[in-house]
Symmetry: D3
């Protein structure tokens, strides 16, 4: 073995060994992953995400994937000649719209994630919030139609699938007691599932590097922030746009027993692996900040 080969081999081994304490710490722990943004529409990134999920499970973690798909819903609506209408960022959702949303989320986006994972083995199972009573929904506001909030989660189905070493992929459709379907914000569902599963982590893939102290300066990334400080930023209107529901879900999750919440840059291949299994700090970690 040449010196070069030997050095390469040692470096390779060092990466695996660096992962060891993380693998030990997270063994049998549940990790909820909100998949979305750029990573979901770029085939190479989607494939790398699928590999990360399979690796997580292969070393003994229990990943649960949650996804939305707003742009894909709008796209089909447009093809059908419908005009999406939004109020305060929420899509006004009549009966036909929720039907379309369900078709797109459960029948298209979910399927593509399942297919990408199952290239590595018969692992993923698509699930809708309507299956086995997983998500009981309630209407958010009369003006919004079938836009729902999570009323309660019954995680039994997910626990059964996880116990069988399967990977649930969850579409964020819920049903109310009459069986009426609702479309629910995927960030909120990810947080609620993480709570009900007592997850170790909930991870949100975004299209930014993480939480920035100065939104214009990528170098101002906040690696770790505790809930009270983050709440301060929220109250101070420092934060903007699409991050708001993610941050609300993060705060909610860590307040209800989830170990930590993470905002990661989904544009970086294998960002989930780096967060979980290496000493390299990526993205922003939110923890409760309250000592037990």
């Amino acid at each position: 073995m040449t010196a070069t080969t030997r050095a390469a081999a040692e470096e390779r081994a060092a990466v695996l060994i660096e992962a060891l304490p993380y693998i030990q710490r997270f063994r049998d722990r549940t990790i909820v992953l909100k998949f979305g943004g750029h990573a979901m529409v770029d085939p190479a990134l989607a494939a790398s995400f699928a590999e990360d999920v399979v690796l997580m499970r292969s070393v003994g973690l229990r990943p649960v994937v949650v996804h939305g798909g707003g742009p894909q819903i709008s796209h089909l609506m447009e093809r059908l000649g419908m005009v999406p209408e939004f109020v305060d960022g929420h899509r006004v959702t009549d009966a036909e719209t929720v039907d379309i949303a369900r078709m797109v989320l459960v029948g298209k986006v979910n399927r593509e994630i399942v297919a990408a994972i199952n290239l590595h083995g018969p692992l993923a199972v698509g699930v809708s919030g309507e299956d086995a009573g997983l998500i009981l929904a309630e209407a958010r506001h009369p003006d919004l139609g079938f836009v729902g909030d999570v009323h309660t989660v019954n995680p039994a189905l997910l626990e059964r699938l996880l116990a069988e070493d399967l990977i649930p992929v969850v579409s964020t459709i819920g049903a109310d007691a009459t069986g009426q379907a609702y479309n629910i914000n995927a960030d909120a569902v990810a947080g609620a599932l993480a709570e009900s599963l007592s997850a170790e982590k909930v991870i949100f893939l975004t299209d930014v590097e993480g939480l920035l102290a100065d939104a214009t300066d990528p170098a101002s990334l906040i690696s770790h922030i505790e809930a009270p400080a983050l709440q301060g930023l929220v109250d101070g209107d420092t934060l903007t746009g699409g991050m708001i529901p993610k941050i609300a879900a993060c705060l909610d999750a860590v307040a209800h027993g989830v170990g930590s919440a993470h905002l990661l840059d989904g544009r970086l291949p294998h960002v989930v692996l780096l967060e979980l299994f290496s000493d390299a700090g990526v993205g922003t970690m939110i923890t409760t900040g309250v000592t037990a």
Copy 2:
């Protein structure tokens, strides 16, 4: 208690007692139900079918529902300005068409069946043939595109769900080894699942009374026929149209260990219950005709 009340009560009790030996015989047995035709589009019939399925499971049977949805696929294609094309009764299915078929089957038809069942409790779980490697598909014919046949069935996911007292509702999309989706004939899938689950019965809901000796005379219903005699009818070209794939699936199933196959009139409310739990003969039963 008046004499009238008493007579009514006794009649009521008699129906329940008549069901007893059937309940005992079918306890813990798997029954595969191909849902379709008129029953799927008439809301009252769909609700009555859902009740039947829930009752089956409540008394200890293990129902598995399989469905297709050709008309619904055509409907969405038309709304999108596409023209369905058929060759020998098979829909020519390009990439966009299979995408639409999957959305409609998994994201719409399946969801409606799940919702109808779950009005009675958190029981049904929608499943696609792509989930956890359930159905490995292969192309039927190069000219047909992504029209598939069942190559192999891996029933592990269904067995897990059944072991948890859940009711799987299966959409007939399969995937090949590269993850490519295929649309598969639902009658064929029902037969193949029944075989792989060693089901007691496979039941096909149709829009006719059953198999008629004389297609023009409803009074000529054949209540019971053995496989060789039925094969004789097939070979003699006595049978026509939509019954052919159902009958092929029936013959295939009983030839591979399924106890019996049934053609029932889905237009009759609760026809499944009557077949399973009463002495009233309904529809046509096919058995192997070979003494073990």
Copy 3:
């Protein structure tokens, strides 16, 4: 199918569907049935009771049958030239009498119930209170000899049999710490077993329609009464004769966690089925009347 056949079929299905919510609600729940009176001596009624018990178990309930047999004991005593003697309604029971009571209850009455049930399959197992320490007895009064009260119940044996889907049929003989046998009132045993098994219901078959507001008017049947009101009737001496120990057992059972107690007319075939699985109100239901 003719219109008449079709109507009959639909009616039949309606009865089964009416049973569905009850089957779902009582699944895996224990129901203690005190068998006795006319139903025990009329072969047709005894056979109908056996069918009811088998049906209960077949749809997932867990029935436990308890029986006495005073008239049969007296009959054998008379054939042996002994003169039954009663004090305050209790049979004075010397060593020979308890020996005879045990022979009759365990060796005859119990056997007949077991045989009737086992015509439907290997389901029933005869049990005496002496088996595996099921009922620890204590003497009721020195003057009565071996007439016992229930001191404590050790339900382990019954729980094991129920867990194996078997149907225990219990003779009401208990033993004290020295192994001495006692004859115990069967109503009291039924109530005590229901308590110790945390039963959903305890049902007493009687020879009347239920509890009547006016003992001379069958139309005055009380369908439902809460414990405090029933206690009022007891205290007011409104009730008479054989109902007293049954009602005491009812009040005791609902006060100790049994969901409801029922007085049913055992002269009506399949009265147990009607109570459990239909909307038809039969007999009298007693509940605690205390909101949890």
Copy 4:
């Protein structure tokens, strides 16, 4: 400690240590014990038998007790003014007689054995061959009425009780497919149960020292005989009277997989313990004599 005390202590320890290899060899093995004769009617012997059975179970063996009770049946018949009638040693058994036999066996003899064992803890459970389909009987001969032979044994109930560390005590009443009860010879039942349970040993308590080469000379006890030699004695008419059915049961049992059959002198206290746990040879052991 004085020398005397010390010697006594060492002797005591020696007995326990002598038992060790037997305890190891028979751990978790099933031993069927046919209880009867003098030992059943002498209270001190009955109590010593109960202790033996409890000790067997306490050190990990799985005892099953089988009993008859001919004299007790005759006694009750006489008290009721009936005249027992025998043909070829079999009691002619009409409907009333089998009813009485059942009362006596299940309701009296069985109860006394259960009570004696349960003085040591909640261990024994009385079982009749009718319970849970344990013994399917068939008529022996039309002239004998309800005298039965064992048609088949369904040992599931016994296996369940043994798995729960309980001690089944079996009365030898069987039922045919119509539920009709039959009285069956207890020696034959003991052999049949031993076979169906794949017992290590079947032990018959008798009122003689064992099998004697010369029936008039107790010193001619045969300690061990193989099946072919014993069959020779049977064929040569060397054997007489009550031993015939026991020896037939022994030969049948060892021919069908039971390790060994034993004829022990039930008049000797704790004879079962001595056979099982000491080097002292007692009674006669029958083995197959065929090398596997």
Copy 5:
């Protein structure tokens, strides 16, 4: 059977029957045995101890053996030219000494005990306190080097072995968090293991008859003493020498939930059997003296 044989047989049976209540009482209970002193160096006594342990397990108890081996350690040190040094009865233990202690205890003394037990079957498994984190040690005193105290016990490994019906034989080496080995007093380890396993008894084999009221008079043996009275003797300096750590371990064990502690004379063959399974009082029993 002669009268003499019969008398011998009855005596034999009496010993077994005398053991019955003890076997019942101690079934599935854990008994920790500190093996040492004369019994460990006399091959006949060591073999008799091994038989006792195997018999305990064979009748359903769960023995755990703990041993030290000071003389054997000194012996090897001397052969290697090292001079054992003691401070206050503790061996000053440098790195080389602990290495030798570990070799002798784990690699020699433990092996001999395991071998003696395994002559009776594949039962014993040698365990060191370092295995699977069984004993976390801490230094007793800087001057003593690697002489340890028990910091905490993680009994999971022992519980697993006991659940598999194996007999753990424990060497008293512990490790601290850095993996450094310590030699720990075996009496203290026996007491600590008994506590952590919620043992029924902890038994110390010694070279004296037990606790003597007057150390010069063997007839002054104290058969039973409660903890407060024993503490009084300790405080009064009545006790001397090697008994001190044993008595401290006894007091500690009964104060933390162990049922009783025993000092037995290991020079008496099978002394453990006599203590456990006979009415003969041997040695000294210490109980808490506090009524629960």
Copy 6:
């Protein structure tokens, strides 16, 4: 994130992803590792080996470590003034020598491996071939004294420890039926354990790069060789010295169902990880060469 950081992160992720298919393939498979040579005496290499073993187990493999320790045995013998004597490469082993070998292997070498692994958690359990009958030994040759061969393996203890996610570390002392200890060649034990555990792989750490086509040229490393070809080299006397027993063990293992045998260079840190989890070919792999 700078471009450099990003490149480093991607490289890191690539190593983890490269490991994925290997982790999936080897999940729940048993890997037997013969530890020895340079790696055992160099503390840094020993620590890296311990990390590798812990990582294997953390990602779901089931490692079993086997070790010898010839030089350490010789060292203690010398300190005790004994002169090791060898015949044909086997140490002549009298009673004292086997005693010393056992002390060194079980009490010193084994302990050091256990300690190194347990720095990462309570994972390793030291086991000797004498424990629970693991290795039944037989004498190799009368002239060699207590040098043993493996007669049979009873892997029950190892299977239990593996089922509890523990890591067995096995010293190669066996015992014969009389309890006599024997010292056995560790290469042979590793092969025999791999066979009896149906291991996926058996891996031998050596002090060379692997099998060289030309022993003088490191570049002539044979990466993969099938059993018949390797047997050819053995028969042709091409191989020399210490490799002979290892190669015999390899051939024996693959001939009895072990998936593959490996000769790895133990001087390379983390060489086990590289073999198992990367595409980098290291050392020599031997497979059966027979198509199933």
